[in-house]
Symmetry: C2
Subunit: 112 residues, 2 copies
């Protein structure tokens, strides 16, 4: 019987815009796959910070075409850098992109 009219305050805080949501969703969609997650982990965990496709291929039970597709998705999303050296192609993680994603959830994790 306290406030029968309103069920609650109708969204006071400024929320994420629809355009921004589409943007972030694109980034997360690129990462929301077990294979791509392991790819990023493999490349980021390498001592040189980069890895060539032939080694990444050997780490999975998947076709070379599939791995190439996943790398293209990550590259298109801006999460991986691509560099061709001779016959081989090397991919490196963009630390700034990962840090940006971490910052998104850090901001949302604080109470106010």
């Amino acid at each position: 019987m306290s406030d029968p009219a309103a069920c609650c305050t109708p969204l006071t805080g400024t929320a994420m815009s629809a355009e921004r949501a589409e943007e972030v969703a694109g980034l997360l969609k690129a990462l929301a796959d077990p294979v791509r997650l392991r790819l990023v982990s493999l490349i980021a965990g390498s001592d040189t910070g980069e890895a060539c496709v032939c080694d990444l291929n050997a780490a999975f039970d998947l076709t070379q075409a599939t791995i190439s597709h996943h790398l293209k998705v990550l590259h298109t999303a801006g999460l991986l850098d691509r560099e061709k050296r001779g016959v081989w192609v090397y991919y490196a993680v963009r630390r700034e992109a990962l840090a940006a994603v971490a910052g998104l959830f850090d901001a949302a994790a604080v109470p106010a």
Copy 2:
């Protein structure tokens, strides 16, 4: 001319396991949708830290069934808490879950 035989060192660092990758991918898959992203943002941005379904419904041009479905996905993923109070249902964000996601990318963003 340094090492013509090997294209690069065959994955030295310890990478994310396949099981762990599936787990994390499930979490990110729940967040990789513009509507769910805005839902989390709306609830997290509320001054009380929670929101009832009727208000969330009003914030989108979507059916009540669709919003309910998205809320269920977020709740099942462990990102939202659900509490029924009288006729209305309130959802609240699990800050720890968001912080865990942020921690994942913080760890991957450091060079070594």
